[in-house]
Symmetry: C2
Subunit: 336 residues, 2 copies
DNA sequence: AAGGTTATCCGAAACGTTTCGGAAAACGGC
DNA sequence: GCCGTTTTCCGAAACGTTTCGGATAACCTT
């Protein structure tokens, strides 16, 4: 390994000068700087990050805390797209991304702070975490800069980015209402996810606009899973056979809903219309192609990384970013 | 930040003893060790990785080099599933995973070695790289341990894991042949991917078993993309209208093939049967559901991480791992 | 009681970098 | 030729850890 010392020797200057030359300080002669740079280049020098961050206390790495992201959830590639966005922006700004996935079991052992310190990350992006997760409380109180995905929490070192869930749901449900549907079932996630409450809020707002009272019994949790949604829809349609449309809080659950509806011998969209949320890739290929609400997942990741780095580098910046959503109309809704 | 020094002071011993106590050396009294451990715990100590790796020259991190993985390719979540497997195994063995995605443009600037040194990774897993990529040559010659995904390259510090591509293709094509198909088009990737040549080999072997001569003109490259495959199939079917089945080297391309076939007003599988490769999630939902060859993507990642760590820690281990594939029969093939 | 062994501890150097405080040399003004 | 300023450089300390080579004291062995 070639060090700054080797360069210093080769150039006949001190290590201080090499360091300052390479780091662009202005108290070094341009000729000297060029000479040093040439030598560094010739020797194939690359700085030792460990030594550097030992001094600077910065590692130039961002942690990505994926709670509960297992192979099972890989079907909805939301996490991956967000990750791509993060990775791209981090790369552009010369930060590294290190993954650490935790399981509820692991979390008992190591505190959030310990985890971050040990990995030596400057800041963290957290996604897929439940609102009642113990980590969440630690986050706000800890000093480590952090941005959350889809969790509305702000603090001096905490920000978040999310989609316009209310608006998206509002538009999706309005679309159903405009198509003549009046009894619209909701397949919700679970209460410990902010998107669940936001999207339900959008549902209610749309109902209100059409003067339709909200009926609690039309809402059922599907726990964000395909199987969970399937079962929820079976129960929902058994209790309320006159439901003509289903608003599913996530596409994965919409897929489960599709199966359930068909399992009951009903047609989609002929007898029951279905709309989802997320616009995951499968929705364009399944049959019928799913009408859904697009979220800009890549952008979420991209902006999350941007926000975190802004936080890290002490820039004044909004700690809250809500991205637009868009209704994607396909074939799973028919007029009534 | 609480350091080893603080612990030493609190415990009334030297930093040496603290270090040795915490690292399980046996030349420290058990009582002393326990006392030190308690103090460390109480103070919330966590070791400074930078300092540690400055000395040890190990970072306990694995690099993941994703060449050309963009948001576009997120549709086939293969990369993500592999990543999940890698991340899990790395986590189990107490390694971190850092991502660095490169673009051909970036590669010009930094050499493979520089990149790895700078990021300070102990070893690298590389995937999605083309056979003619300049990095590849560097890899074998470099000293940095490395495992490749789907690229058969071995060396003292280099290993790879891949799927049984020949066998998978053989079974898929045999299945078509057994269904009575005799003129089977191939939508290949491009020549700079090993899977392309392996899967084509399997195709040829199956043909041979049935005594059918290989016809070069039945093969067309689709460049691993949906759009590329679509165009390839248009051309293929225009030239050879009596093709009754298509073997697509990847599911993404099979999806494109589906569109092309339908675009020509033909039925799948009624008039043209289609089989894919990979078993990506969409294949179970698209219509018709795609018959394809499953590769165990998660396992690939898992084993790749295992192999790399074995390499790093100097264990004697096979530098070559080929995972089984399995034919998944769905609805896109009919008998003839 | 001398010599040898074992158990337990420690001082100091080393890893590669940044940075603080200064110092030498060159220059300008008068 | 003196003084102040600017330019360009450097020595040494510091970051937190590991590790080498001992050192001390207690315990055996004969």
């Amino acid at each position: 390994m070639v060090t700054i010392k080797d360069i210093a020797k080769a150039a006949g200057v001190s290590v201080t000068t090499v360091s300052r030359a390479l780091n662009g300080y202005d108290d070094v002669n341009e000729d000297t700087r060029q000479k040093i740079k040439d030598i560094a280049q010739g020797l194939g020098y690359s700085p030792n990050m460990a030594a550097r961050s030992l001094i600077s206390k910065k590692t130039k790495t961002l942690g990505l805390l994926l709670s509960n992201v297992t192979r099972a959830s890989s079907k909805d590639n939301i996490a991956f797209e967000i990750l791509c966005g993060m990775n791209d922006r981090a790369g552009e700004l010369d930060y590294d991304l290190v993954l650490f996935s935790t399981t509820p079991q692991k979390q008992k052992i190591k505190s959030y702070k310990t985890l971050c310190q040990e990995r030596g990350v400057d800041g963290v992006i957290i996604m897929g975490i439940r609102l009642d997760d113990a980590y969440l409380k630690e986050v706000v109180s800890s000093q480590i800069p952090c941005v959350l995905i889809d969790i509305p929490l702000e603090g001096p070192n905490v920000g978040y980015v999310t989609s316009d869930n209310v608006g998206g749901a509002y538009r999706a449900v309005s679309y159903l209402l405009e198509a003549g549907h009046r009894k619209i079932g909701v397949v919700n996630g679970h209460s410990q996810a902010d998107v669940s409450v936001q999207r339900l809020k959008g549902y209610k707002q749309a109902l209100e606009r059409f003067g339709i009272p909200f009926d609690e019994s039309l809402v059922m949790d599907g726990s964000f899973s395909e199987a969970g949604a399937k079962e929820a829809v079976y129960r929902l349609l058994a209790q309320q056979p006159d439901i003509t449309a289903l608003f599913c809080i996530s596409d994965l659950m919409a897929l489960g809903a599709l199966q359930a509806v068909r399992g009951l011998g009903l047609q989609v969209p002929g007898q029951v219309s279905v709309v989802g949320f997320d616009n995951i890739d499968v929705t364009a290929y399944c049959s019928p192609a799913l009408t859904t609400v697009n979220q800009n997942k890549y952008e979420m990741g991209y902006q999350a990384a941007q926000m975190l780095i802004d936080l890290l580098e002490g820039r004044k910046v909004s700690h809250r970013l809500v991205l637009d959503t868009e209704l994607i109309i396909r074939e799973s809704v028919s007029a009534r």
